[in-house]
């Protein structure tokens, strides 16, 4: 359905996409996961025919995105990031305008059908300017599926929504994904895990890894830490060796005498926390606090880059990249 081969894009002299290749098959939901500025939007704009790549090729439903741009645009539904709509039109008139441009047959019934789908039928006569952020996003989705495209490209479909709206939009995407090939981008880890059949991790214009949600889960779990605050006389020296000896513990760091950071081995089948708690108490110390910390997306990127044994320059640059929001949002 979607095939990209060595997509490369320069903005002036800045390299935004660096030989990006991937595929998405019919009925799949593929996620693009990466921080802001990773190249997600650029890739999507190339796939939708908005702009051509500097190099490389892509096909959608068998049509080349540059040579058969009009044909590609007929097969694609697109929800841009922060969708811009015509505030002076009603929801219905807006969809009618977009539907006419796309030559949708029996348009009135189709608009009603789509509005029902996104749960906006009762607002069809409202001016778009008066809608809330979440409703606007749903109008954007309605616009994207109006012409029954084979491929849906959704750029950050849940950005700027409150948690309830986010759940709603995700539900909708999952539903839509049953009949369409969906490619969506997000910088939220849990969203990618929850929605996608396959996740492409993209950073600084390169695809670092391609994971199933299960593999992604493993990466995330493998990157977990348990932080302890312990009361008593100099617990760090006494507890450090004891805790590192426990099964499932990779290493223990002691940033202060009363704080311990326990890094868990990836792929630990059992919960290590009860054992940690017992060990602290049996050693005669007070356990004041224990919490699990998931590593952020940025940490996972760093880990991936290390795994790749990338050049030092690369790692340094990613340190300067904006820190993505943690995945604990919904």
């Amino acid at each position: 359905m979607i095939e990209a081969r060595d997509l490369t894009k320069y903005y002036g002299r800045r390299l935004a996409l660096d030989h990006v290749s991937f595929q998405a098959h019919k009925g799949e939901i593929v996620g693009f996961l990466g921080p802001n500025g990773a190249g997600k939007t650029t890739t999507m704009r190339i796939l939708t025919g908005y702009m051509p790549p500097s190099d490389g090729d892509a096909w959608i439903a068998g049509h080349h995105v540059v040579d058969e741009s009009l044909e590609v645009r007929r097969h694609v539904g697109y929800l841009p990031e922060n969708i811009a709509l015509y505030d002076d039109l009603t929801v219905w008139d807006y969809l009618a305008f977009m539907g006419q441009l796309r030559g949708v047959p029996s348009l009135d019934e189709r608009i009603a059908e789509v509005l029902e789908r996104v749960n906006l039928l009762d607002r069809s006569e409202s001016f778009i300017g008066s809608l809330s952020r979440g409703m606007r996003q749903r109008v954007g989705l309605a616009q994207a599926i109006l012409h029954r495209p084979e491929v849906l490209i959704l750029d950050e479909p849940t950005i700027g929504l409150d948690p309830a709206q986010r759940v709603e939009v995700r539900e909708l995407i999952r539903e839509i994904g049953q009949e369409h090939t969906v490619m969506l981008s997000t910088h939220i880890l849990s969203e990618a895990q929850e929605l996608c059949d396959r996740v492409l991790i993209i950073h600084q214009g390169r695809i670092l890894a391609e994971d199933t949600p299960a593999e992604l889960e493993l990466r995330v779990r493998g990157a977990q830490q348990v932080r302890l605050e312990v009361g008593g006389e100099a617990p760090a020296e006494a507890l450090g060796p004891r805790l590192s000896a426990l099964p499932g513990v990779l290493r223990v760091a002691t940033p202060t005498p009363n704080h311990l950071e326990v890094e868990l081995a990836p792929d630990t089948p059992h919960d290590v926390r009860p054992a940690l708690a017992r060990a602290v108490l049996e050693a005669g110390y007070d356990l004041r606090e224990m919490c699990t910390v998931s590593l952020s997306l940025e940490d996972i990127f760093l880990q991936l880059i290390r795994d790749e044994q990338a050049e030092p320059a690369d790692t340094a640059a990613s340190d300067a990249a904006p820190t993505p929001t943690p995945d604990e949002e919904a």
Partner: protein
């Protein structure tokens, strides 16, 4: 062509959902009314003294070109600049429409509005016809309005091209108006007998109007000139939109 029409219809309607359409209509008709009123009074005063002939359509059609020069930038400034500023251009450029269809549709929407505007001004020739003996010579009226339509087509196309260049409507308005005034003054820039005189007179869009259409002559050279400028403007607009894709 269907797409061009869909965009044109939307654009035409939009003039009536925002103040700018009404503002242009009001100012155009109001100022024209003042000028025509003034002309009528003068003609009346002259006729008392000298038995001068009754006024003809010139007192209506004469000022209309000037008014168009100032009105059309307000009509075109939003056409493409607005879509770029709000970001709505992205969905239009990812819909299955060609770039020239988008530009031509925007232009046609503006042209339809000007047609309505000019149609409303027909009330003045009509009034003159009823007020004067033996009535109006309709020849210059027909050629004059045809000339105004051609001028509008050309100016709108240039305005659309300028609008494609900018994200800011104000910038689009100012540059469009400056471009119009520059083209308007080309004849006066031409020194008599200088080698460029003929060329400058040819490029001046007011010249073709006042030397021909205004005097009741439908001049083929003028028709070709206005249609060429229209095509040129639409082409430039399309190229600018296309280049947006490459610049990202």
């Amino acid at each position: 062509m269907r797409t061009v029409w869909i965009i044109a219809r939307r654009e035409f309607r939009r003039y009536f959902t925002r103040p700018v359409g009404y503002l242009v209509l009001f100012l155009y008709l109001f100022v024209l009314g003042l000028i025509v009123n003034n002309g009528l009074q003068r003609a009346y005063a002259f006729s008392l003294f000298q038995g001068a002939p009754p006024p003809d359509a010139e007192i209506v059609i004469g000022p209309m070109l000037t008014l168009l020069v100032f009105s059309i930038p307000a009509l075109t400034m939003n056409l493409l600049a607005g879509e770029q500023a709000s970001g709505t251009l992205e969905l239009l450029l990812t819909a299955p429409i060609r770039d020239w269809e988008l530009v031509a549709g925007k232009w046609l929407g503006g042209f339809l509005f000007v047609v309505v505007l000019l149609a409303l001004t027909l009330i003045y020739p009509l009034a003159l016809h009823l007020l004067t003996e033996p009535g109006l010579d309709w020849g210059p009226v027909v050629s004059g309005y045809l000339g105004l339509l051609l001028v509008s087509a050309a100016l709108l196309a240039l305005g659309v091209a300028v609008s494609a260049l900018f994200r800011s409507q104000v910038a689009a308005f100012v540059v469009t108006l400056a471009l119009f005034l520059f083209l308007w003054m080309l004849s006066s820039l031409a020194g008599a007998g200088s080698p460029s005189e003929g060329l400058l007179r040819y490029l001046d869009f007011g010249n073709h109007f006042y030397t021909a259409f205004f005097r009741g002559v439908i001049d083929l050279q003028g028709v070709v000139y206005y249609l060429s400028v229209t095509a040129f403007g639409l082409l430039v607009g399309t190229v600018i939109i296309e280049s947006r894709r490459w610049r990202g």
